[in-house]
């Protein structure tokens, strides 16, 4: 005599005037509850729809138009802007620069952040608050401020050259911002300086969630600290590592402030990023919003493809 039998007999899906979907089987009270739940989401969904999805759609339409300023007209071959981009040398240079920053800076930053978080996670470390604050403070500085400070520090008569000359590491001042390679190095150093602390916080949070019994088990099995780090700690931090990789990639591809304020595009556009080029095309000189919109769509596609690749790789190894 199971009590489930009467309920099972009543559970026939019917098509009634309430329509189809999950709401048709509900009582009026339950349906009202479900609609109330949807009502809570309307402000956020409406804001995101109006401020993000609608402009994105408009940008797609814009990318098929050309013209100066507000005199926009449909492009003759519809993909004219994209064809122009394929032959654009400056665009190719900015793409190279951005990918270079991504490939060099992100791995170094994340590995340093992992190592630092692991060191800071030791419960017997003294003055922990001071170390954490010191490492996180650069992340609280505005992008424009730190770009200008780094520009001053790495000037030909700036702090870095003075210090290197004082310890006799170099004979004459290095023109950091005047050569392509050193200018890119300065930008990468700036990015490392600023964003490592930010990622240390994320990894510290992930480390707090690691089960200490797994670490004890590893120690009892005779694993040294390095072996424990690679075989026990890192696999348990995989979701957070994936999150920081996606966030860092996203941020580095859209980078604008450092390129604009630190080097202003660098010696002959050799440190310019894609977003900086987009800003130049759209708002400086002769504004061409159609071409700018096409550029922004290429940035969007690159971000989306890289994020999809990273999510696939991250999930496969689970």
């Amino acid at each position: 005599m199971s009590t489930m039998t009467p309920v099972a007999l009543e559970k026939r899906p019917k098509r009634n005037k309430r329509g189809t979907g999950a709401r048709r089987d509900m009582s009026p009270a339950a349906r009202r509850r479900s609609l109330t739940g949807w009502a809570f989401l309307i402000p956020a969904a409406a804001l995101i729809g109006i401020m993000m999805f609608w402009p994105m759609f408009q940008a797609l339409l814009l990318s098929f138009q050309t013209g100066r300023g507000s005199a926009l007209d449909w492009a003759d071959p519809l993909l004219f802007n994209y064809e122009r981009m394929l032959n654009d040398d400056i665009f190719r240079l900015t793409l190279t620069n951005t990918l270079l920053y991504l490939v060099i800076q992100v791995p170094i930053m994340l590995i340093s952040a992992l190592v630092l978080a692991n060191i800071l996670n030791n419960p017997r470390l003294r003055w922990k608050g001071f170390w954490r604050t010191a490492i996180f403070v650069p992340a609280a500085i505005s992008l424009v401020s730190y770009s200008l400070v780094f520009r001053t520090i790495f000037a030909t008569d700036g702090l870095v050259n003075d210090m290197l000359l004082a310890v006799h590491l170099i004979d004459s001042p290095i023109n950091w911002l005047g050569n392509t390679d050193t200018a890119r190095l300065v930008i990468i150093l700036g990015l490392l300086w600023r964003w490592t602390g930010f990622n240390v916080i994320f990894y510290l949070a992930a480390l707090q969630n690691i089960d200490p019994t797994t670490l004890e088990a590893a120690k009892m099995d005779g694993a040294g600290p390095i072996r424990t780090f690679f075989s026990v700690t890192i696999p348990q931090m995989k979701p957070m590592i994936l999150l920081t990789v996606i966030m860092s990639t996203n941020g580095t591809i859209q980078m604008f402030d450092e390129s604009y304020n630190l080097t202003r595009g660098g010696p002959a556009n050799t440190t310019m990023t894609m977003s900086h080029y987009l800003f130049d095309v759209s708002f400086q000189n002769n504004p061409n919003f159609g071409y700018g919109a096409a550029l922004s769509y290429v940035i969007l596609i690159i971000v989306a493809v890289l994020a999809a690749i990273q999510m696939k790789v991250g999930d496969k190894r689970d």
Binding site: M51, L62, N122, L125, A134, F256
Partner: protein
């Protein structure tokens, strides 16, 4: 006999153990110095004259008042501060209200369709600002007169805060 043996075992490890943590602290000190160095230079430079900054002087000077006066003389600092504070406060308050309502709706009135909507909204966070910048600029230039700012609702921070 065993007490003496264990005591003899313990004493060398105790002195080496005291120095075992030192490389860690040295490394952390270097990292902290590199992190705070530029900021310290920035603060100290604010109190120095231009020649001192170019000479990389690391000791605070007495030029703070003069620097502040030349700053306020050439830039409208008050207006800039007001706009920054307005932006920060309004977007934070709006984000708190909108996002906590939405979070409440997603969690307490949970359903599979709401999960799908949440994934769509999370996807919106990944859209680079560059992709939406130009249409937003066009929209905001329609809704403002020549003297005021476009308004905090156009700010990307409102969207990123959620």
């Amino acid at each position: 006999m065993t007490d003496v043996a264990t005591k003899l075992e313990k004493s060398p490890t105790r002195t080496t153990a005291r120095w075992r943590g030192v490389p860690k602290y040295v490394f952390l000190s270097i990292v902290a110095l590199l992190s705070i160095g530029p900021l310290y230079f920035m603060v100290v430079s604010a109190t120095n004259t231009t020649q001192d900054v170019l000479a990389s002087k690391m000791i605070p000077g007495g030029n703070l008042i003069a620097n502040w006066q030349s700053l306020t003389e050439f830039q409208d600092v008050g207006s800039a501060m007001y706009h920054s504070v307005l932006n920060a406060v309004v977007t934070t308050v709006l984000a708190l209200v909108v996002c906590s309502i939405a979070g409440y709706g997603f969690e307490v009135y949970h359903s599979p369709n709401k999960d799908r909507l949440m994934w769509v909204l999370m996807l919106a966070m990944m859209i680079p600002f560059a992709a939406t910048m130009i249409p937003l600029f066009q929209a905001c230039s329609l809704t403002r007169d020549s003297s005021t700012r476009p308004g905090p609702w156009c700010s990307p921070r409102l969207r990123r805060r959620c």
